[in-house]
């Protein structure tokens, strides 16, 4: 039995019919063609499914779509141009296959919102829920530092 949910998606008011067991990632992919958030480990360990829900980063594959009524969803596709975080990731070469990258971009924005000038220890701990099998970790740390500098400027 499908329920209708009304919410804001990347700044726009939208609605969707969702089944009770449908995850946020499934809804975003099936009904909105947004594939930046992906289910990989399915267990909330890898961060590939990261989505912002009312400004807070959540594991999208463990979030039921029926519960997002009246909420604000932001995905990596939101935004018309590249932000300083995305630019920094490009300049620092902070990705390889790219499958984990949207999750890292969203979490880096969160990190810098909370800690505008993070040290390496803070970076590693804040992003520990994002895995990269290509192991671009050193470049990601550089990208976060670079993004912090860009945002300050």
């Amino acid at each position: 039995m499908r329920t209708e949910v009304h919410f804001r998606l990347n700044g726009q008011a939208v609605s969707a019919q969702v089944a009770p067991h449908e995850s946020l990632v499934e809804m975003l992919q099936e009904q909105f063609g947004l594939y930046g958030a992906r289910e990989s480990c399915g267990q909330g360990m890898c961060g590939c499914c990261t989505v912002l829900l009312d400004g807070v980063a959540v594991p999208g594959c463990l979030t039921l779509a029926v519960l997002i009524n009246k909420k604000e969803i932001v995905t990596v596709e939101g935004g018309q141009t590249l932000d300083p975080v995305q630019e920094a990731f490009i300049e620092a070469g902070a990705f390889q296959c790219g499958f984990c990258t949207p999750g890292f971009v969203l979490m880096t924005r969160q990190l810098l919102d909370e800690y505008p000038d993070p040290d390496e220890d803070q970076i590693r701990h804040y992003l520990s829920g994002n895995l990269c099998r290509c192991a671009a970790y050193p470049e990601i740390i550089e990208a976060v530092k670079l993004a912090a500098r860009k945002r300050k400027a």
Binding site: Q43, G98, Y137
Partner: protein, 755 residues
Amino acid sequence: MKRASQPTETPQVGRSIPRLESWLKVTGRAEYVHNLRLPGMLYGKIFRSSISHGRIKRIDTAAARALAGVHSVVTAEEIKSIVPDPYYGPAFLDQPVLAVDKVRYVGEPVAVVLASDPHVAEEAVHLISAEYEELPAVYDEVEAMTSKAIVHDVLKPAGTYPDLKHLQGKKNTNLALDFRLRRGNPETALKSAHRVFEHRFRTQQVMHTPLEPLVTVVESTEDSLTIHTASQSPSFVRIEIARLLGWPENRIRVRVPFLGGGFGAKLYIKLEALVSVLALLTKKPVKISLTMEEQFFTITKHATTFRIKSGLDREGRIVARECEVWWNGGAYADIGPRITQKSGFTAPGPYDIEHVAIDSYALYTNLPPAGALRGFGVPQLVWAYESHTDMIARALGIDPVEFRRKNILREGRPQATGTKMKDAAIETVLDRLEVLLDWKKPFDRGGGTLKRGRGLAVGFKACISNTTSLAAVSVNADGSCTVYCSSVDMGQGSDTAMAQIAAEVLNLPAESVRVVHSDTDVTPYDMATLGSRSLFHMGNAVKLAAEDAAGQLRALKDELKLPADAPVPDIFRKKYGMRAGSVTGTASFNPSYTPPDANGLTENATPFWMVGGTGVEIEVDTETGRVRVARLINVADVGTPINPKIVETQLSGGSIMQLGFTLFEKLQFDAAGQLRNASLAEYRIPGFLDLPGEIINEAVSAEQRTGPFGAKGVGETATFGLSPAVANAIHDAVGVRLTELPMNPESVYMKMQNK
């Protein structure tokens, strides 16, 4: 993002340009088969064997078929209606599309449920039941040599390989292949050696866990198939599916966008045969997208046992080495037999040894199949020979670097196969490791409960041979360039590298080059993207194809009596009277190769060597056995890098992946062959908190003279020496020698207690 497009004299190789696909990846818009949905598509969910070895007595699918929303349930019976002989593999045709008569490992696919809602398909899988007559099983590779538990009733090597013919029809054995190499007189040399050392080493089964799990989508018409698949080997997929169906190749189209990681998991046939048959049976598009858990039951890396014995003369020179390697191939051969041979011949290591014996065995066991994983068997070999080398050095009281220098293979000297070394900067790598590790300076080993140590290792790999890459390069009427090649970008930057090579030849900015992704209707044949071969083989093919295109443009200028520096658009305008036309250069690159003789010897074993050295400084918590890497140094011979930044990230990334295999990753089975940790929650891979304190990456100054602009591959190089370097450092720190991977805290701690 603005891209330069005007012709340029600036060199394009040796530039650290950002990857061409950067914008796509940081905005989440890169295309992966994981995302693909087609109208009317059915999802397939797999029902898998719950036992490790048995004959199938019954498969009960009635309840599953009756569940509302289920389209159909398929077993081997239906498969055979489309493919009467449903066995595939890149070396042996031993792997069934769905289990036929027998199951050979826990997790083997037995049936598939199809439904338009994947949740319904998943539910229905739980309603299938199967009955088996259990058979004795074998899990250990050495035991498999003599075990009465026989995994395959008869060996089935693919007929196309002359060197496997002798195995055809063999029964009562788990030995799929044995590779034998004899050079000089190792037996005699060992008997008369001044000192003899023999050790035994083991490595564990691990899994690649690419974050985009294996996935394939197939759509069919009455006489054609389009296979969208996350594969590193699109050409192979086309050839093999054509063979299975008895169709001409040109009726099968294989498309590969980006891969969300590969590392060797996405090779040869994984889901493609099954999904193709399902598409033909249902006449609808079909998608099978594995979960992370299911990957563990699909393809893994060989566990090994390696017995290595060396004879030394009084001067500390290795005069003879005997290598016996057992490779645990799991239930199906996949590419295991080739690992056994092609990596097997490097088992003695990068050392100048006159008398060599190698026996390298590919064994079947009742475990998930093993195949290619970054390094293609070389990390397992280096683990043994570089631990062994260090142990010998210390026993002889010779500095480990000095000992290696005394014995290292130099340019022009014969490797174990007899092939003379060419453009393999092994000594340079060793020299640089010594410098970067401050090896000659005293090292503080700490006091108290934290002990420090350092270690190093050098490994090498022969690029697999012989293989072929073809490429096409077009120059369009406006002067822009398009590259067509079937190399697959799985994060290693192949698109960018090919663009840089074509751009260098055609004097264009690399960012302006368009690289068309693998599409077998468009991009020509390539052996596969594996074994670090693409930069050398495809890079050379692209370079030659670009040169061919450039030559055609020059000929046009001559024909049209245009000056040598006439801009490209002018050429086409003059030729056709308007903006029209293009030229397409093509090339094929297939370096020479001489197959080994009956003794495994050949003077042309490989078109190029990879050389990777690792140095580490570590800390051991002696109360728990926990090892922390404080400094990690990766030194490699990659020839002359095309893109130095990407080279650096390949060294760094490869070493961190190998760190997981070294310290904690392991597939853990119970006594019945049941995998207990098939998920990222229980099979942990390196994260931010596992990183070494400092990582230094260096590509030594070197040139691969036969490579495109002096370059060669780097994807696997940093995996070679990591594990033994850490073991050597642990010995340096706390005086214990670990001979099995992974070196988790308990194993280090227990070794220290039993000293």
